[in-house]
């Protein structure tokens, strides 16, 4: 088991955004979290990745209790994430975003920097290589020297994924990677995630686009009001009455057009 949470809670004032969530993901798995807006999915990510402290409960990552650790420590242990509202380094180029993404894999310090040590040179070479490879992988090579803030939206989403990959994580958390993408772009994203899976990466993603979820997830977890209300294979979950009621809604063929007489 790669990641496991037990009775995880996060409250904001009186609001229980995440409530007693028991969750686990195994190495190599692709799991999707779905749930109504405001059901605590993003908050769950924030707590697991250490951006926010948990109110109660525990998080175990690679067999180690990381509940009390801060985001940077958790990243260093091999977890990477993307953000629902894109958080690239806006004034750095695409390439530099990836170089910074490699931070936690670096070892060089002040003195290496000052004296341009062999270690630093080796590290720089490796970083450059990785950056090239990742840009290629997400199809952003033409954008490598553009500032992140000037990239089109879809490209920014892919760059965020690439940046998360740059730290060579074992587990990657993707928060609504397909938001704001049109169906064709979603297809490309699907392929990208499939290739990540082939590489053996463990993927946990939040998504509202059911097409993506159905196509890629091996297991789906459903949140509602901060609690896990269902879990299972995509097709089971999709027809779970609780999930249909809270999230998907009844199948209606078309919208009701009551145009003016």
């Amino acid at each position: 088991m790669l990641l496991k949470t037990e009775k995880l809670c996060k409250t904001f004032g009186g609001l229980r955004a995440v409530n007693n969530v028991d969750f686990h993901i195994d190495t190599g798995e692709v799991v999707a979290i779905i749930g109504p807006n405001g059901s605590g999915k993003t908050t769950f990510f924030n707590v697991v990745s250490g951006i926010m402290p948990a109110t109660a409960g525990s998080i175990v990552f690679k067999g180690e209790d990381v509940t009390k650790l801060q985001a940077h420590d958790i990243t260093r242990r091999g977890m990477a994430r993307t953000f629902q509202n894109i958080r690239l380094f806006p004034n750095l180029t695409a390439r530099d975003n990836l170089i910074v993404g490699r931070y936690s894999r670096g070892r060089s310090g002040l003195w290496d920097g000052l004296f341009h040590s062999a270690r630093l040179k080796e590290e720089e070479r490796r970083n450059e290589e990785m950056a090239q490879e990742l840009l290629e992988f997400v199809g952003l090579t033409p954008y490598r020297n553009l500032m992140a803030k000037n990239l089109p939206y879809g490209a920014q989403r892919r760059l965020e994924i690439a940046r998360a990959l740059a730290s060579e994580p074992d587990l990657i958390l993707l928060d609504e990677p397909a938001a704001g993408m049109n169906p064709r772009e979603v297809d490309e994203l699907l392929k990208l995630i499939a290739r990540l899976k082939e590489r053996g990466l463990t993927i946990l993603l939040i998504e509202h686009q059911m097409r993506l979820v159905m196509n890629i997830a091996e297991r789906v977890v459903v949140f509602d009001h901060g609690e896990k209300i269902a879990e299972g294979r995509p097709h089971e979950v999709r027809h779970d009455p609780k999930v249909v009621e809270a999230y998907i809604g009844p199948e209606v063929d078309s919208l009701v057009k009551h145009r003016r007489h």
Binding site: A71, A80, D112, L120, R163
Partner: protein, 342 residues
Amino acid sequence: MTTLATLLRRQSLVRFAYSPRAAVVFSAVILLITFLDSFIDAPDYIFSPYFKHIIFVSLTYSIVTLSLNFVSGYVGQTSLGHAAFFGLGGYVSALLTQLYHVPYWPAFLAAGVVAALVGIPLGAPALRVKGPFLVVVTYACGEVFRFIALNLEVTGGPAGLPGLVTPSIAGVSFTDVGATGKELFIVTALVFALALAFFMSRLEDSRIGHAFAAIREDEIAAAAMGINTAYYKLLAFCLGAFFAGLAGSLFVHYLSFVSPDMLSSTESIMMFTMVVVGGARSIPGSFLGAFLLTFIPEGLRYFKDFVHLPFDPWLVFFGFVLMVMMRVRPQGILGADTVFRR
């Protein structure tokens, strides 16, 4: 104003400023001015001790401006309290040499170290407070230091401490060398400034530099990249304070005098504007900012006498230029085009 703007936009100028050649030319000019009168009979007004004095002051402020860049440039935290470190360094080495008769150079180092240590609690608010709030916190911290210096017995109160020792190397006092006694000070400041500039240029491209850039751009994303943001913010404050402290020490022993005015908020604001005018994160910009804002007021004095102005126009002019500058070139004269975040 527009012609100035177009001139500034001319990339060749900026590119030259960033080349290593610029550093060589710069040092050559400074050294020439400093030492030429030892060999030839040069006109007074170029090689006067006064001119050399202004050069030394400019160099000192270049160091200070560079050091403020750690905080206000690299990690992008506006600090209006930097003079506190500059003055603190001055007071530390003044007190060590005067009260405890510590030799100058150990006291010099101690000045930097103490300033850096004080930088930790002063930088701590930056971990919790952001943007406009940090501006006032740093400003207030600087003021608190000034009040302490004003009120303590040991710091000599408002009058400060006179009669500080002159630094010496191998038994030779700085003031005994050269035509005016300021030469060694200038050389020391120049070497120090260039070394710091070199250090910073190397740092920019190192892993630490990456961490600084990430924090400046987006703190939360930086943390998600595995960067310990608290550590690096404090590091930036410490590094900035350390170098400012060293500069302060050199400066007060040059003047042979230290007073609370060194810690004033006006000084802090001036330092910050040196960074902004030259261009945040720009190493040649730091030199340019420091030299411009030291030389212009002196030049204006001559102008004032020349046209018989009944008042000193500098600060009025300065305020005006800042306003115009923000409209024409907000990133500073030698700044990259995207210094500021919205």
